[in-house]
């Protein structure tokens, strides 16, 4: 049955990957070995997953499942990719809540938390280099939008959804209307 196969494939992908782009090679392996998708489908998949909200892994699973076996296929693939969260992470959550006050756990967290901040900073640098310098050309409108949104987030305490919607509108103005007017 295709549903069971899809489910098992995504269980495997879920357990062996750590989310984000790291899932792409694993998905490609599974999809091509079953003959469900080509490499070209996969690059479309990445484009779609990037331009829609939600976790990349969930988006990938929905797209692959839907393309392969319709709506139900999408659901089955998502359930597969969520299996590690519902099993292993659930166990970790139970364990963590129990032991987080212990002295070992406190010491571990005191080291892991700064590492976590470092990971976020590293993501910021990587994202900035691809967003604000496209093919080594500076994007003044994008930098302007970013500066404005940073101000609104920190000083004006705007919420993330409002910031996203405002930036989409600014994007339409600067990258849609403006080039048209300029001709």
């Amino acid at each position: 049955m295709i549903y069971i196969e899809l489910f098992l494939s995504f269980v495997k992908i879920g357990f062996t990957s750590f989310g984000g782009m790291s899932m792409i090679p694993l998905i490609l392996d599974e999809m091509s070995s079953h003959g469900w998708m080509t490499a070209e489908d996969l690059s479309n998949l990445v484009a779609i997953a990037e331009m829609t909200p939600g976790p990349l892994g969930i988006n990938c699973a929905t797209f692959t499942g839907t393309q392969t076996a319709g709506f139900l296929g999408g659901i089955v693939a998502v359930l597969g990719v969520l299996t590690p969260a519902f099993t292993l992470t659930m166990l970790i959550a139970i364990f963590f809540e129990k032991f987080k006050e212990s002295s070992v756990m406190r010491r571990i967290m005191s080291v892991v938390k700064p590492i976590c901040i470092a990971m976020i900073l590293s993501v910021i640098v990587t994202l900035s280099s691809t967003t604000y310098f496209v093919n080594s050309v500076i994007q003044p409108f994008s930098i302007g939008i970013a500066a404005l949104m940073l101000y609104l987030l920190i000083r004006r305490k705007w919420s993330v959804p409002v910031v996203i919607i405002s930036s989409a509108m600014l994007g339409v103005v600067f990258y849609g209307v403006l080039p048209m007017v300029r001709g």
Partner: protein
Amino acid sequence: MDNIKKGLSIFAFFFKIGCFTFGGGWAILAQMEQEFVNKRQIITKDELLEMVAVGKSAPGIMITNISLLFGYHVAGVFGGICAVVGITTPAIIILSIVTLFYNSFKDNYWVHAALTGIRAAVVPIIGSAALSLGKDALKTPPAVVICLTAFCLSLFVGVSNILLVLAGIVGALAWWSVENVKKARAAANKDKKQAEPVAGQQ
């Protein structure tokens, strides 16, 4: 009964967050910080960072792992499931629709323009969360050194996140053991000093 009520409101929160999580998932941090740390004060910044650290290190998708940890913290197993289902439902709905209209969607001029705008906002969104969480997590000099070292290793050497966290855990365990050995020795010395005069009398 209480947990069911809590679970449903967790589902609603995460459904809303799921509609606006662009940019590879780290943006969820900013939203959780605004919603649960600042506005509702359900968790502290420290607890949020702990959830991120654990969620990032567990296999599977970081965002769903963090959602599960938060849900479990607030309302047990049921809460955890509600959070995960909440954050994934908008993604499934939107993706199903987009997949249907994929061909007319992918080359649309206006969609492309709006997405370029959204992409520009992802860095400040993640940055605002990093700023506020960093203020709390980087209070001591060792924490700053650990953060800078990990940052350089990640950016310039290309060490993966999982490896960084594992190295951190191993380092922390070593640190903790050394501390404990020192404490044990100090305690043993104290005992000896107290015990000696007694032994001398006998």
